[in-house]
């Protein structure tokens, strides 16, 4: 399955990364090379093998239902490039 220019454009949009038109071809070549290379995994017999769910053998810990965080709107918006009145902002979204 060759990774062509159109696919790259589609994937780039999914990832919300602007790729200049004149870069699509070369990028398609590079990505296609990587994809072809990883396809050697097809050789591995994984019949009956469960996918790895975690690199660590432990169980998921649960936290207590306790409010012990938040309450600092200035802190979470301090780094925002365009915060206003403790809100983050984006260009207007038309619903």
């Amino acid at each position: 399955m060759a990774l062509d220019k159109e696919t790259v454009a589609k994937v780039a949009h999914l990832a919300r990364i602007k790729v200049p038109e004149d870069r699509l071809d070369s990028l398609a070549g590079e990505l296609d090379g990587i994809v072809n290379w990883v396809e050697q995994l097809g050789e591995v017999d994984v019949e009956g093998v469960a996918p790895m769910t975690s690199a660590v053998e432990t169980s998921l810990r649960w936290r207590e239902d306790k409010v012990d965080d938040g309450g600092y709107p200035e802190k979470v918006t301090a780094n925002a490039p365009d915060a206003q009145m403790n809100f983050y902002t984006t260009p207007k979204v038309v619903e």
Binding site: L3, T7, V8, V11, A12, H13, L14, A15, R16, I17, K18, V19, L27, E30, L31, G33, I34, V35, W37, V38, E39, Q40, L41, G42, E43, V44, V46, V49, A50, P51, M52, T53, S54, A55, V56, E57, T58, L60, R61, R63, Y72, K75, V76, T77, A78, N79, A80, P81, D82, Y88, T89, T90, P91, V93
Partner: protein, 491 residues
């Protein structure tokens, strides 16, 4: 007293406690070294003022008899660790101006143990790279040079700034992170020691995520003993990280007994790859002999799925990264490149903010997770990962540790970067399997290649058996007696 920049952590600790040197003196020497090392471009941010303040506090605690395990030790911090109030970039344009309002657990642990931060170290953008060539802040130069030419060499990556700074004496030790070899490979390229602990040993909280199921922080030091001391301060259970494991942190330094009699050391035949330089093959054999001479038992083992580790890694890591990096969108922090619509804001910001390699990996990751491809790529890779972990499990039924080369080559020139990304990825061939299986590994400087460049040997161990890994590495280090010094030396 000798040059303070030549002290190891263990020696500095003893000298500080014996009041032969003050923390301020030691830190001042390093602040000068940091300045002197600027041509290497290892630091993105220098924090001399804070360093001095911390050193003063250390001297006070030493005077009060309250010195911590890392008291007064000047460290460089890889700029992937969020540091409160100090610019944190991950080597990316997209985090422009980001000053975290929080401190990562690992740096917090180190500071609580008394460590002093000299600054934030350069790295491959979002830790994606094996040569420190992808940083928005420019490449880091390896302080080592080949005997025959004056070319600038790469320090390896992604913890290239950390490795170069430790090797050039621009910090006593540094933190690194290792997702596919990012501690061990640059350690090998610069003649220092780099330890990747078991996944779950050090908290990931506050470390800018690359690939969550693979990322692990670890120490980069000049000696194995220093790695043991520093790991002890970095490691520990963190309730804020669901993958952090709740088990006590042993006294790693105490594990360095010097006795490896009866230790079973596996030599995996699959690590003998085509095209590997003879010098590395020789060094590997030398390593086997060194351990054997000290009473270890050498066992040939097989890790049959080794060759599939890299392709599996280059599915899993980009897939996780594509999702982890979705939060860099120009809204809450960092770079914002305006657009007419929300999508334009995203696409402009991310198009401009991410470098080429990061884009490549995010796109690959997006592709392998997208509809119709998930089973063929991501699910398959996670199954292969199970196979690889199973290989290790079987091997560790026979042996205690494995001995392998750390890298398939010595450091290469900055202008010798392969144009094919896949060629670049092959640098991690020996280090990636341990990440996929979550196992600990250490790279120890053990010899030189024909051009006088350092080479490393790698010891891999069982999960949470860093003690045995360190003990074997210590034995290797003693036998190798590596005394090489880079041509560039700060201060």
């Amino acid at each position: 007293m000798s040059d303070p920049l030549d002290l190891t952590i263990a020696e500095a600790r003893d000298a500080l406690r014996a009041k032969k040197i003050s923390a301020v003196e030691l830190t001042d020497a390093y602040i000068k070294a940091v300045e002197a090392a600027r041509p290497l471009n290892c630091y993105i941010t220098e924090t001399a003022e804070q360093a001095r303040a911390r050193a003063e506090a250390s001297d006070k605690r030493i005077a009060d008899g309250k010195a911590g395990a890392m008291e007064g030790i000047p460290l460089g911090i890889k700029d992937l660790f969020c540091t409160e109030g100090v610019l944190t970039t991950a080597g990316s344009h997209i985090l422009d101006g980001f000053k975290p309002p929080y401190e990562s657990t690992v740096t917090r642990n180190l500071f609580d143990a008394g460590a002093v931060m000299l600054g934030k170290l350069n790295l491959d953008e979002f830790a994606m790279g094996s040569a420190n060539l992808t940083s928005h802040y420019g490449p880091v130069k390896n302080p080592w040079k080949r005997r025959d030419d004056d070319k600038d060499l790469v320090p390896g990556g992604s913890s290239g700034g950390s490795a170069a700074a430790v090797a050039a004496r621009a910090c006593l030790a540094a933190t690194g992170t290792d997702t596919g070899g990012s501690i061990r490979q640059p350690a090998a390229f610069t003649g220092i020691t780099g330890l990747k602990p078991t996944y779950g040993r050090c908290s990931r909280w506050g470390i800018v995520a690359f690939a969550s199921s693979l990322d692990q922080a670890g120490p980069m030091t000049r000696t194995v003993r220093d790695a043991a001391i520093m790991l002890g301060a970095m490691a520990g259970f963190d309730p804020k990280d669901s993958t952090s494991v709740d088990r006590p942190v042993p006294d790693y330094e105490a594990a360095l007994t010097g006795d490896i009699k009866g230790l079973k050391v596996g030599v995996p035949k699959e690590y003998r790859v085509d095209g590997m330089p003879a010098s590395i093959d020789r060094l590997w054999q030398q390593g086997i002999d060194w351990l054997k001479q000290q009473g270890a038992e050498i066992v040939d083992v097989s890790l049959p799925h080794t060759k599939y580790a890299l392709p599996a890694y280059y599915i899993v890591a980009p897939a996780e990264a594509s999702s982890n990096l979705a939060r860099y969108d120009g809204v809450r922090y960092g770079l914002r490149v305006e657009g007419e619509s929300l999508n334009e804001l995203y696409e402009n910001t991310r198009g401009e903010g991410f470098g080429e390699e990061v884009k490549r990996r995010v796109l690959i990751g997006t592709y392998v997770l997208s509809a119709g491809y998930y089973d063929a790529y991501y699910l398959k890779a996670q199954k292969v990962r199970s196979r690889i972990a199973e290989d290790f499990r079987k091997a560790y039924e026979q042996v205690d540790v494995l001995l392998t080369p750390a890298t398939p080559s010595a450091a290469f020139g900055i202008d010798e970067e392969p144009s094919d990304p896949v060629q670049m990825y092959l640098n991690d061939v020996f280090t990636v399997p341990a990440n996929l299986a979550g196992l600990p590994g250490i790279s120890v400087p053990a010899g030189m290649d024909d051009q006088g460049l350092p080479l490393g040997l790698q010891i891999l161990g069982r999960a949470f058996d860093e003690e045995t890994v360190l003990r074997a590495a210590h034995a290797l280090e003693s036998a190798a007696g590596f005394t090489g010094r880079p041509q560039f030396r700060a201060g």
